[in-house]
Every structure is written in structure tokens, then in C-alpha cells.
């Protein structure tokens, strides 16, 4: 059970940390590391773990690729639709990450709990 919920918890904590860091009360370097780290791995990890049971290196690489892709799509959407609101984009990524983590918990076999 512990293994099943470790990653969802990491995802949720990272997402919430990124949300808090975006409020701007941290030193810039810390804010950059927290939000940059989130953007780089977490949105992808939330769904890669949900969909695939591949080895950890593969899962990590795919998570990075998917996270960067999702972030680029979000920013492209805002640019093309003239709705540039970066914080809104970040909150959207946080929301889908938490949703992915929640799905991981919900869809894990009940007998594992």
C-alpha cells in the first residue's frame, strides 16, 4: 500500500508547493527550483504512472517529455487565444496533476489498501 500512495502523495505535495511558491513570498531561486521542478516532472508523472507500468528510468524520461509537452501546450494555448495569464496556466497544471494523483489512488486495487 505504501508504494501505491507514495508517488501520488509526492505529486500532490509538489503541486501544492508549486502553487504556494507562485504566491511570491520565497526567494526567487527557491521559487524557480520548486516551480521549475514541478513543471519538469510532475504533470507527466501524474499520468504516466496512471497509464503505464514501465521501469522507473523509462517512466521518468517519459514523464519529463510529457510534462514539458503539457506546459508548452498550455502556454501555446494562451498565446494563440490571446488569453495570456501564466498563473492561470500554472494552476491548470496543478489541478490536472492533483487530479492524476487522485485517480492513481482511486484506481489502485482496493485490496491493496
Amino acid at each position: 500500500m505504501r508504494q501505491r500512495i507514495t508517488w501520488p502523495i509526492i505529486i500532490i505535495v509538489s503541486a501544492l508547493s508549486a502553487g504556494l511558491a507562485s504566491l511570491g513570498f520565497l526567494p526567487t531561486i527557491l521559487q524557480f527550483l520548486i516551480i521549475g521542478g514541478f513543471i519538469l516532472v510532475i504533470p507527466g508523472m501524474a499520468y504516466i504512472r496512471l497509464m503505464l507500468s514501465t521501469p522507473s528510468l523509462t517512466r521518468f524520461i517519459l514523464s519529463v517529455a510529457l510534462s514539458l509537452s503539457l506546459s508548452t501546450f498550455v502556454s501555446m494555448f494562451m498565446v494563440l487565444t490571446h488569453t495570456w495569464y501564466p498563473l492561470g496556466g500554472l494552476y491548470f497544471l496543478i489541478a490536472i496533476s492533483i487530479a492524476g494523483a487522485a485517480l492513481q489512488i482511486i484506481l489502485s486495487p482496493r485490496n491493496q489498501w
Binding site: F32, I35, V64, A65, L68, S69, L70, M78, L80
Partner: protein, 647 residues
């Protein structure tokens, strides 16, 4: 596809010889030694600690020796000329130790990764720390594009200057997004670390690709090391191509891992294809040899394969909206694999092609309408790409002639070593068709390109991961100890030689790729104070340019105008005064900097001394007034306009 060489059985060496068994009791008495305290295995301890000791020593030596390097006194060899001997020694020890680790302790993945990570950090991070300013003039333009999106929140595909970025804005939109949400005021705050970041994620992607082709860890790690030592092209700076290269590797890796065929096509199937019908039998033989029964098993369910294809489409979507040439490279490679019957999903390549064409006809329509004629002209003048790529080195400074020779030597060495690797595989009755296709496919980019002289470098860049793999296969040793040491020595010597070429190629132009704080201060002054509608006349584009408010100005490069307009040299003041007094410009400046002059001296694209002469002429002329000056930069303005603007 690439099987691990058979490990010789150690059973014989471990079994005691018959004579020993026969007289065991006596020998036991003779050889009696008191037992050492259990728990300390010194051999194992040394094995586990020496990499850590070496790594620490290398880090300390490099940092201490490089710390005081004076980057303001670089010579014609760029950053190489200010690196002290101890730094070279540290890097050599790092590479040799990495080779020993890879061939003798391949199971210590964490240590090997730490060595490669350190190599990337030292090679790509050191200039950023020592320079203190963003390296390479194109990085500044990319920061300018990010700044544009931050300012306007949108793009303008019809914009006159840097329009190509507005037609493929994915990377810049992401850059602006990242800058805003992380609280960084400008992308300048993190763009300097882009080479370290992109090299690291590229290596991760390469490990992913290589592990889908072989189970031999020595080959996987050594190929990754070779990639680091030969990736001199410098496409790792803050740029769309750097990010999209990672995505390209991911897509190729996923396809090679989960979508390669496991059995050759039948003769009946080959007979159905008109082009190959006559050669069906030899082709079948070739394809049969290409399928290795000992390849890593990458089994996946049909649901997983659908998900993988979805991820490929999503990642490719980002490539399509971010860069012009990378999607072409990806598509051509995937189609090459499909045509050679190396991959299964037949629809996927067509979906990728559709996405590429769809973006060209929608998002990049404006640019395509303007550029289609020049692209067709490029196709007709195919041979010119090759000749223009190989610069005429007669105009180069003596140092740059050597740098250029090292670049060519390095490239040639990589290709020859890879060919030797492929030949070794062929002699062992293996033909790695997918890898060969991944090497050859990028060459098709030579057909169509508006990249002029850069295209050969791009081809090398995209073929490099697979060239590196062939090099690793060339020197893969067996598990027999004497041969393993022999190959380790060969690998270490070869790696060091390749690294020397890399250092020349990668750092060789840093005399003018480095911008001093004075140059940045002058650019800050110009781009923050010039009113919208200003004409900026630049000695050349090689200075911190266009990184702020870039769309408000018109740019004119003297290095490009001089060959076209002889009056610029014979009657400098009158020509410049005429341009600068045109009523359509709200103001006009001439900026001549140290790095522009150094580039002119190094490459000799315009007669040496031209920019200095122009600078002196303007200083002597009453028509011009110096509005900003420091040790490295001078900015002029027309005297009457300047006087009129004063309160």
C-alpha cells in the same frame, strides 16, 4: 538487437585443482592462517570508494584551477586559451576514470552517471559561471522573443523581423510561461544554464534509446560518454532546437523500444512491393540478419501501445509548433524505419506527416507564403549547401584555421570510427538496420533547407547519437580480462583524443561568443532608452542584441551591407548620415562593440579593420556624436538629432 557477448564460464577457475582436493588435509595445515576479523572486504571497499575519491579530486582541482581564469584575455582559441593545465588534467582524469568504470564496473550505474554528470557540469557550466553573461549572440535573440511574448501575451506571424520565431513559437511561449510563473524577471536569469540542462536530459533520452537496443551496460554508458565528447555542434544553448532535439530522441527511442518488428517479412510480402520485387531474396536475407533474437524484450500490451502512440503524437505536436527542421528529421527517420520494415505501426508516420503539414498550412502559413520561393530555390541549388557549409578558411585568422581543421578532423574521426563499428558488427554477422537508418535519414535534410551553411552541422547533430552507438560497439570488449584492459586503454586514449577535438570545436569561438559586462551595459542602455521606431545600425549581429523591446526597432547590419554598398567604406559618414536621417525613423544609433570586431578579425567575412575604421571615422566626424561609451562599446548618434533631443 545488440546482444551481450557471452560471458566465459568461471566455474573452472573456481573449482580447486584435483591435486589440491586430494591433499586437502595437509595443505590446510600448511596454509593455516589466523582468520581476519569478518566484515571488512578491502577489495570491495577500494572498488566502491575509488570513483568517489577520483570524482572529488577532479572537482576540487578543476574548480580551484579555473576559479581565477581571466576570460577577458582569451586569444584566438577562445575559452581553451584561459583554461589552466590543471583543468585539462582534471578533465582527462575524469574521462579515463569513466572509461575504467564503464568497462570494469558497469554495474555501478550511479557512479558512471555521476562521472558523466560532472563532465557535463564542468564543460558546459564553467563558461556560464566564469563569463557571468549569456554566451552566444543567438541566445540573446531568443531571450528577446521570450520578452516579446511576456510583453504582448501573443505573437505576430507577419512581423518583419524574426518572423520565423512567431510562426514556430512553442519554445518561446514555454520560455515566457516559465519566466512568469517562476518569478524570474527575464529569461536571462536562467538561460545561461540551458546547455547543462539540455545536455543532461539528452543523455537521459539517449540512455532510454540505447537500453532499447542493447542489454550491454558497457555499450549503453560508453555510447552516452562518446556523445558527450563529440557533441561539439553547440545546439544546446537556449533555443528551440535544443528542446526539440530532446523530444526527437524521445520519439525515436519510443519507436525503437516498442514498435520494432520481431520477425522479418515473408517473401510473399516482399514480392508484392514493385520496387523491391527483383531483390526480394537478398533483402529478406538482410532483414533476417537485422533481427537479433537476443535483443532486449520490450513487451507491451495493445492498450499500452495505443498510449505510447498517444504520447508520441503529443510530443510531436510540440515539435511541430516549435521548430522548422526537427519535425522534418523525425518524420524522415520514422518513414525510413517504416520503409525498411523495421517498425510496425503503419498509420503513425502518416499521422506525424499530417500534423507537420497541417501546421505549415495554418500556424506557419504566413511564413510559408513568403518563404516558399526561396525554399524552392534552395532545392534547385542543392549543391550550394554543401559548399557554403565548408567555409573558405583563407579569410580566417591563424587560430581559427586550426579550430576549423580540428572541427573537420573531429567530425571525420567520428564518422570513420562509426563506420568501423558498423563493419565490426557486420563481421559478427549483425546488420543493425534501424541504427543505420537513424544515421542516414538526417542526410535527406541536405535536399531542402533555408539554413544555408549550418545544415551539415545539423545533419551531424541528428546522426550523432547513433554514430556514438556504433563507436561504442567498435570497442566493446569481451569479458576476458587482458582484452578488457587493452580495450579500456584504447577507449580512454580515443576518448581523450575526441575530447581534444571537442574542446577546440566547442570553445574555439568563445573569444567573440563571450560578451563582457560592459557590452551588456551598453546594450541595456540602447534597448531600454531608444524610442520606438529607432534604426539600430550594428557593426554585426554578434553582440547582446534584440533581447529587450526588440520589435520596436529596425536593424541594419554593417557587416552585411559593406559587401553590397562600396560607398559605406569610401564615404562612410555621408552614407550613414543619409540612412540615419530618414524621416521614417524616430531616432538612429550606430553601435560598434568589442565582440563584433573580434568576430570580424577571426572569420574575416569583411576586410579586417573595416569596423575599426568606421568607428574612427565617426569619432572624427562632426556629424556624429558619441552618446554612450565604455571600454568595449561605443554608440553614436547624428549630432543634430542628439542636440535637438537635449533639453
Amino acid at each position: 538487437m545488440i546482444r551481450e557477448m557471452d560471458r566465459p564460464t568461471t566455474a573452472k577457475s573456481k573449482a580447486p585443482p584435483p591435486s589440491v582436493t586430494a591433499h586437502r588435509g595437509i595443505r590446510h595445515l600448511v596454509q593455516y592462517r589466523p582468520k581476519l576479523p569478518q566484515g571488512i572486504d578491502f577489495t570491495n571497499l577500494i572498488r566502491k570508494t575509488w570513483p568517489l575519491v577520483i570524482l572529488s579530486a577532479v572537482l576540487v582541482t578543476y574548480v580551484v584551477s579555473v576559479w581565477g581564469a581571466d576570460v577577458n584575455h582569451m586569444t584566438d582559441f577562445g575559452f581553451l586559451s584561459v583554461l589552466p593545465p590543471a583543468a585539462y588534467a582534471a578533465l582527462a582524469v575524469l574521462i579515463i576514470s569513466a572509461c575504467i568504470l564503464i568497462f570494469h564496473q558497469p554495474e555501478d550505474s550511479l557512479f558512471i552517471f555521476a562521472f558523466i554528470f560532472t563532465l557535463v557540469l564542468l564543460v558546459h557550466g564553467a563558461p556560464n559561471v566564469l563569463y557571468g553573461t549569456l554566451r552566444y549572440s543567438w541566445s540573446w535573440k531568443h531571450v528577446g522573443m521570450v520578452d516579446y511574448i511576456q510583453d504582448y501575451g501573443s505573437i505576430n506571424p507577419a512581423i518583419a523581423y524574426l518572423g520565423v520565431y512567431h510562426n514556430w513559437p512553442g519554445f518561446f511561449a514555454f520560455g515566457a510561461f516559465l519566466t512568469e510563473i517562476t518569478g524570474a524577471q527575464s529569461a536571462l536569469n536562467f538561460a545561461g544554464w540551458a546547455p547543462v540542462f539540455f545536455n543532461l536530459i539528452d543523455i537521459a533520452a539517449l540512455l532510454f534509446i540505447y537500453s532499447s537496443l542493447t542489454t550491454d551496460r558497457r555499450v549503453i554508458w560508453f555510447a552516452a560518454l562518446i556523445f558527450c565528447l563529440t557533441n561539439w555542434v553547440g545546439q544546446d544553448y537556449f533555443s528551440p532546437q535544443a528542446m526539440n532535439y530532446f523530444f526527437h530522441l524521445i520519439i525515436i527511442g519510443m519507436i525503437l523500444k516498442w514498435f520494432t518488428v520481431t520477425s522479418p517479412p515473408t517473401l510473399t510480402v516482399l514480392h508484392r512491393i514493385p520496387i523491391v520485387r527483383r531483390f526480394a531474396v537478398p533483402i529478406l536475407r538482410l532483414l533476417s540478419r537485422a533481427i537479433d533474437s537476443d535483443a532486449p524484450v520490450n513487451a507491451s500490451t495493445s492498450t499500452e501501445r495505443i498510449i505510447y502512440q498517444g504520447i508520441i503524437v503529443a510530443v510531436f505536436g510540440v515539435i511541430v509548433v516549435s521548430h522548422q527542421i526537427t519535425p522534418f528529421m523525425t518524420i524522415i527517420t520514422v518513414f525510413g524505419l517504416l520503409l525498411a520494415r523495421q517498425i510496425k505501426p503503419r498509420l503513425l508516420p502518416f499521422i506525424l506527416l499530417f500534423m507537420f503539414v497541417a501546421w505549415l498550412m495554418t500556424g506557419a502559413r504566413t511564413y510559408m507564403q513568403i518563404q516558399v520561393s526561396s525554399m524552392l530555390r534552395d532545392l534547385v541549388q542543392f549543391g550550394d549547401h554543401l559548399t557554403s557549409t565548408l567555409h573558405d578558411t583563407t579569410t580566417f585568422s591563424p587560430g581559427q584555421v586550426i579550430v576549423s581543421a580540428m572541427v573537420r578532423g573531429e567530425t571525420l574521426a567520428v564518422v570513420l570510427l562509426a563506420v568501423a563499428g558498423a563493419f565490426r558488427r557486420y563481421r559478427n554477422r549483425n546488420i543493425d538496420v534501424p541504427i543505420i537508418i537513424c544515421v542516414i535519414a538526417p542526410f535527406s535534410a541536405l535536399l531542402a533547407s533555408s539554413y544555408g551553411g549550418e545544415i551539415l552541422f545539423r545533419v551531424y547533430f541528428f546522426a550523432l547519437p547513433f554514430l556514438a552507438l556504433f563507436i561504442a560497439l567498435l570497442i566493446r570488449p569481451t569479458f576476458r580480462l587482458p582484452q578488457r584492459w587493452l580495450m579500456t586503454v584504447f577507449a580512454a586514449v580515443m576518448s581523450c583524443m575526441l575530447f581534444i577535438g571537442f574542446l577546440f570545436a566547442y570553445y574555439g569561438k568563445d573569444q567573440w561568443n563571450y560578451f563582457t559586462p560592459n557590452e551588456v551595459a551598453a546594450s541595456d542602455y540602447l534597448f531600454n532608452n531608444a524610442p520606438p521606431g529607432t534604426l539600430v545600425i550594428e557593426g554585426s549581429r554578434n553582440y547582446p542584441s534584440e533581447y529587450r523591446n526588440y520589435s520596436r526597432f529596425t536593424y541594419l547590419m554593417l557587416s552585411r551591407e559593406i559587401p553590397l554598398d562600396a560607398k559605406l567604406v569610401t564615404d562612410t559618414t555621408a552614407t550613414l548620415a543619409r540612412w540615419m536621417s530618414e524621416s521614417k525613423y524616430s531616432a538612429a544609433f550606430v553601435i560598434i562593440s568589442r565582440s563584433q570586431i573580434l568576430e570580424e578579425h577571426g572569420l574575416g567575412e569583411i576586410p579586417i579593420g573595416t569596423l575599426e575604421n568606421i568607428k574612427q571615422t565617426l569619432l572624427d566626424s562632426p556629424l556624429f556624436r558619441v552618446v554612450y561609451r565604455n571600454d568595449d562599446v561605443i554608440i553614436f548618434r547624428l549630432a543634430d538629432k542628439y542636440d535637438a533631443a537635449q533639453p
